[in-house]
């Protein structure tokens, strides 16, 4: 099933529930370890998250904030390779119901070989990919390859984009659009205010795809805010932070509160 259809279905299913937005969560492959990743995913699945980003670790994660930077680095030091990430993805998609989105930096794709990478992503059960350092202007070829395999390139829209640019981004987007709620890198808090709402309604003008909102989503009120202005709340750093400080019980509690 196409990713956007899946999202529509899930959104319809949530109609009237206490959590009005879908949830997309995030793990860095092999950090702290694949075993712990698995435990996190079990908790996320139990909490009913609809989408999960699996980040392939990269040595130069320049769009990430400190926590993910450390996670990327540590994973590489732990000896995590691209092969391991695909293997893990395969196991995840075999078992869990949520959709899996590959997340990472373009060099990982480029160095593996774009066609090869896309085929392996497809084979491992992935649905889409997010490459924050690959602008649409440079993505033509990759997006064509993806289209052949029915993989969705997730495009980012940002508060600094001009109308012309948003149009161009919308044209390239598939699956859903990732709206970056603010300037900066992942990891710090975003205040969900009128400015963010305005930005999201601007995005909405340019695309009919579902809108995901990321960067700094960490609490129930953020999710509620997103429910009324967009479709998917992206939970990144907040979950990892919770795992690191309190392990499984804390993460379970974290998702319970988010979905309450």
């Amino acid at each position: 099933m196409a990713l956007s259809n899946y999202i529509s279905e899930q959104l319809a299913a949530r109609e009237g529930s206490s959590r009005g937005a879908l949830l997309m969560t995030h793990v860095v492959c092999g950090y702290p370890s694949f075993e712990e990743n698995w435990q996190e995913l079990e908790i996320m699945a139990a909490a009913g998250v609809e989408l999960v980003e699996l980040q392939f670790p990269f040595s130069e994660p320049s769009a990430d904030g400190p926590l993910f930077v450390k996670a990327n680095q540590q994973a590489i030091q732990n000896g995590v390779h691209v092969d391991d990430c695909f293997e893990f993805m395969q196991r995840v998609t075999d078992i869990f119901d949520f959709k899996v989105v590959m997340m990472g930096y373009f060099n990982t794709v480029f160095k593996t070989g774009p066609r090869d990478f896309m085929q392996r992503l497809k084979a491992a059960g992935g649905s889409a990919f997010i490459l924050p350092d690959l602008p649409v202007d440079e993505a033509g070829e990759l997006h064509e390859l993806a289209a052949e395999l029915d993989l969705d390139p997730i495009v980012l829209m940002t508060p600094t984009n001009s109308p012309e640019r948003l149009q161009k981004l919308a044209q390239a987007a598939k699956g859903f659009v990732y709206c970056v709620a603010r300037k900066g890198v992942t990891g710090s808090q975003t205040e969900m205010n009128a400015e963010v709402a305005d930005f999201l309604s601007t995005c909405r003008k340019y695309t009919d795809l579902p809108l995901a909102v990321g960067f700094g989503v960490s609490q129930k009120s953020d999710v509620d805010f997103i429910a009324s202005h967009a479709d998917i709340a992206v939970i990144g750093t907040a979950a990892l932070k919770t795992w690191e400080s309190g392990g499984a019980p804390a993460l379970t509690e974290f998702f319970a509160q988010l979905a309450a």
């Binding site: 390779h81 480029f110 940002t158």
Partner: protein
């Protein structure tokens, strides 16, 4: 040959290399920069202003010195040196930095950030910021902070905040990542002063343009001095800015051989060096905003690098130079740490010049080649910086005991914390 006359739809590309690989949030910032740069480039008064600033503030034009002693001693080609070491702050880095400073003023921004490895670019940026009245923050790998403390000292005293970056290998590439992180947060008032001809377009073009002042001067000066074009031109290649700056002066002179000298470190073998093109350990990748050759593993993760020269141990290389290398317009050679130290000692004793460890790579290769050339031939070396900033590193490389005694005595004098 106009390197920057891009084909349609290939703006920012040199052959297969270059491009703009940045988070979407920076798209408008980069567009703004491209526009500002394009405007400046098309405005003759801008270059004029730049040249005048470099004359009055940095002492340009820098001269060319004939190394009469070494030429005679080696018995081969006549060796000439372009003296970028005589610039204010002691290296060619100031050319690029002051140019970008003028552009920042034009864009109406008030804050600059910069990465630095050897510390020379950070030093130059701190200087520029003080002179232009900008706020400034310099990101520097913690390892580099430790080995280049003198430069940090001056940066701080010129009013810059220096941030020791503790991610990754804690060197130059990590400082670049940190700059990108700052930039995606503060682009409204902040310009990222990239220090070499790398990174996303328009940086390679822009930095090359400002550094072309070296080659423009050098060609005329050398013609006046030696009455002829050089047979070979040597420059060290870290990111590749001083090399492309000098080489541009001779781009259309097809008989002039251009030689880029990379950090051979301990010699070939992954992790031992920072030679992206001269050795066979690098491959094409996309990182830090550009597509070029990187020292990376099969997963596309970057390797550790090593060089005695902190300014040459970068993982990637100027995409313009890669293109010229593929075109066989530029030859690439690697020079080991040991060769560098020997060349440095020889140059100090024979000519009273102290090349920076980076520049000494160019000297080492040029001296070797000059020895087997004819006495009528001419070689030109870019002395990209002066070595007195490197006293700790040079003293360590040479293993100077007096210096160690001095440092011990100083530490005693300072007492414990």
């Amino acid at each position: 040959m106009d390197l920057f006359d891009f084909k349609d739809g290939r703006e920012g590309y040199y052959g297969d290399y270059g491009g703009t690989f940045l988070p979407e949030i920076l798209h408008s910032t980069i567009e703004e920069l491209k526009r500002a740069f394009r405007d400046a480039r098309e405005d003759p008064s801008f270059w004029q202003e730049f040249v005048e600033l470099m004359q009055s503030y940095s002492g340009r034009p820098t001269p060319i010195t004939h190394l009469a002693n070494l030429s005679k001693q080696l018995g081969g080609a006549q060796i000439y040196v372009k003296r970028e070491d005589l610039n204010h702050t002691g290296s060619h880095k100031i050319n690029n930095v002051m140019g970008q400073g003028l552009l920042v003023k034009r864009m109406g921004k008030s804050r600059v950030i910069a990465e630095t490895g050897a510390g020379q670019h950070g030093y130059a940026t701190a200087t520029m910021a003080a002179r232009f009245g900008f706020h400034s923050k310099i990101y520097m790998g913690a390892v580099d902070v430790a080995r280049q403390r003198p430069n940090v000292f001056w940066m701080e005293n010129m009013g810059s905040e220096v941030i020791a970056v503790r991610d990754g290998q804690q060197t130059l590439k990590d400082a670049i990542n940190e700059c990108l992180r700052d930039w995606v947060t503060n682009m409204d008032d902040t310009h990222y002063v990239l220090g070499t001809a790398c990174g996303p377009h328009p940086f390679p073009e822009m930095v090359s343009w400002f550094q072309s002042i070296i080659g423009r001067e050098a060609r005329d000066q050398l013609m006046a001095l030696s009455g002829r074009l050089p047979d070979r031109v040597f420059a060290c290649v870290g990111g590749g800015s001083n090399a492309i700056g000098l080489f541009q002066g001779f781009m259309d002179d097809s008989d002039v051989e251009l030689v880029g000298c990379e950090a051979g470190g301990f010699g070939p073998g992954k992790g031992n060096h920072a030679a992206r093109l001269a050795y066979k350990d690098a491959s094409v990748g996309v990182a830090q905003g550009m597509k070029t050759y990187f020292l990376q593993n099969d997963d596309g993760n970057m390797l550790e690098t090593h060089s005695v020269a902190a300014g040459l141990d970068y993982i990637g290389v100027n995409p313009v130079l890669v293109h010229l290398w593929e075109q066989e317009r530029v030859r690439f050679e690697a020079v080991t740490d040991e060769q560098v130290t020997e060349a440095l000692k020889l140059t100090m004793r024979s000519e009273g010049l102290i090349p920076a460890l980076e520049s000494a790579h160019g000297f080492a290769q040029a001296l070797t080649e000059a020895a087997s050339m004819s006495t009528k031939e001419v070689v030109l070396i870019n002395m990209s910086g002066r070595g007195d900033k490197d006293i700790f590193t040079i003293a360590d490389a040479i293993g100077d005991d007096h210096w160690k005694q001095f440092i011990r005595a100083k530490a005693n004098e300072y007492g414990t914390e």
